[in-house]
């Protein structure tokens, strides 16, 4: 029993293994580009729906407010892997065939919209009510006040939280492999299936790719944040 629990060391990895996994880099990068496409799609879906849901939650009439809260509740409650499978198998029930990629964008996008809505809602509620009153006093309609005064500020305030969401959902795109999207994780498994000893090196290479992508993504968002900062308005870093 002791032997089984401790395990034997796998045949040692040699320099040759690391070099040969390196030769798979183009394949892995091709897989990573699918992750980035997924990321773009799901952030887009999530952003549009997230802003709408947040506005409804804060400014909507009672009925819509409840609907928006319910929406955020549903999509924050269901495990992502389950959402993916539901989105893949669900439409087939009604004769609709959507590709694994579309299903993944929709499932992950809807889920992200619920989280993004909460980020935007918090930011909207952080803006002092005096601003709404001032805008109205200047002759803005209610919608104009939201469109020109409140939302731009709220989006700027949301950037920090949004960067966090970016880092989370970037990694979530690897879950799409469960419904057959050939992204980087699946490519790594192909490498391991073809060349068994390369399983671990391939996973490590993928981990490094994600370190790089996350670093540059957050770096970019940090720059956007700096650029949009209004001197004197918010606490300085």
């Amino acid at each position: 029993m002791g032997e089984a629990q401790l395990g034997l060391p796998l045949p040692p990895l040699t320099l040759e293994h690391w070099l040969s996994v390196w030769s798979y880099l183009p394949t892995l990068l091709q897989g990573l580009s699918v992750n980035l496409a997924l990321l773009g799609g799901l952030l887009g879906v999530g952003f549009v729906l997230g802003v709408i849901v947040a506005l409804l939650e804060v400014y909507g009439p009672r009925g819509l407010r409840l609907f928006a809260a319910g929406y955020a509740w549903v999509f924050r409650s269901i495990p992502e892997i389950l959402l993916l499978l539901l989105m893949w198998f669900g439409p087939a029930q009604f004769g609709l065939s959507i590709s694994p990629f579309t299903a993944a964008v929709l499932a992950l996008g809807l889920r992200s919209s619920a989280y993004q809505a909460e980020i935007f809602r918090g930011a909207l509620q952080a803006i002092p009510t005096g601003q709404t009153l001032a805008a109205r006093a200047l002759g803005f309609s209610r919608l104009q006040a939201i469109r020109y005064v409140l939302l731009p500020q709220a989006l700027r305030l949301s950037l920090a939280g949004w960067g966090n969401e970016f880092a989370v959902v970037l990694k979530d795109t690897t879950l799409a492999y469960a419904i057959g999207v050939v992204e980087v994780m699946r490519q790594a498994r192909y490498i391991g299936s073809r060349d068994f000893p390369l399983t671990l090196p391939a996973y490590i290479l993928v981990a490094m790719l994600f370190l790089v992508v996350t670093y540059f993504g957050l770096f970019l968002l940090g720059n956007v944040e700096k650029r949009l900062r209004i001197p004197g308005l918010e606490a300085r870093r």
């Binding site: 060391p9 087939a92 299936s193 073809r194």
Partner: protein
Amino acid sequence: MALRRVAMAFLILGVVLSGAAAEKFIVGTDASWAPFEWVSAKGQMLGFDLDVMRMIAVLEGYEIEIQDIAFDSIIPAVIAGKVDIGASGFTITAARAEVVDFSSPYWSSDQTVLVRADSGLNIVTALMPGRKVAAQRGTTGAFWVEDNLIAKGVAVELVLYETYPEAIMDLLAGRVDAVVQDQAPSEQAVRQYPGKLIIVGVIKTYEEFGFLVAKGDPKGILPRIERGMKKLKETGAWDNLVAAYFGNPLGVIEAAWEACISILEVGKDPVAYAACLAQKVKELSK
């Protein structure tokens, strides 16, 4: 903005409808089971099953799209209509034949028992009560352990994996004592870890592989598969394909496949393709 969204909706609808109109069948496979199906170093899906599917598609004049799915999800996907054909080394069993329809058999296989070369186990000691025996989930190897060992009171501990390579990794790591799996993939595993793994025995199960479609074959695919297989066998293309795919290193098969595949995909000539593949594999493995 609203207009653009409406246009987008129509676009998506159009894509969905046009996808349904073309005569194209989706082939589901678990691409981690060389030499029947795997993904090459350059990211292309190949293997015996997949080439047979491609060749029959050319002969019978339809298109296929190959989709990689976990093995135990292929039959559910065929039932749900997400996939039209299952081509993944499926053994024809009575239980499966209740929920899907099979083609006539195209391959026969037996199960093998694989252990670490230094373990000193033989086919009897490897399958004794208390041993950890691994198999891939949903495969006939797993069913054999359940039906012929566990159900008959030989209390081995069955450990199931989603893919076959994972079982091999755990065998090497000593977390399991033996792996029960079809012969050709087992031989492929031994080739990957020379001196580390050994096949200690063959269990004669006389299994036969078939391609599968939804129950009742609503799209009328099976007769076309049958016709295609018959043509392949009559022209000798089948034997060439067998010679190319079995008993050779994966790298050699991949190089030959890459050199020849345009004969099938562009030239639409399955017979010449199979001849090219067999010839190239022979040349390269010298």
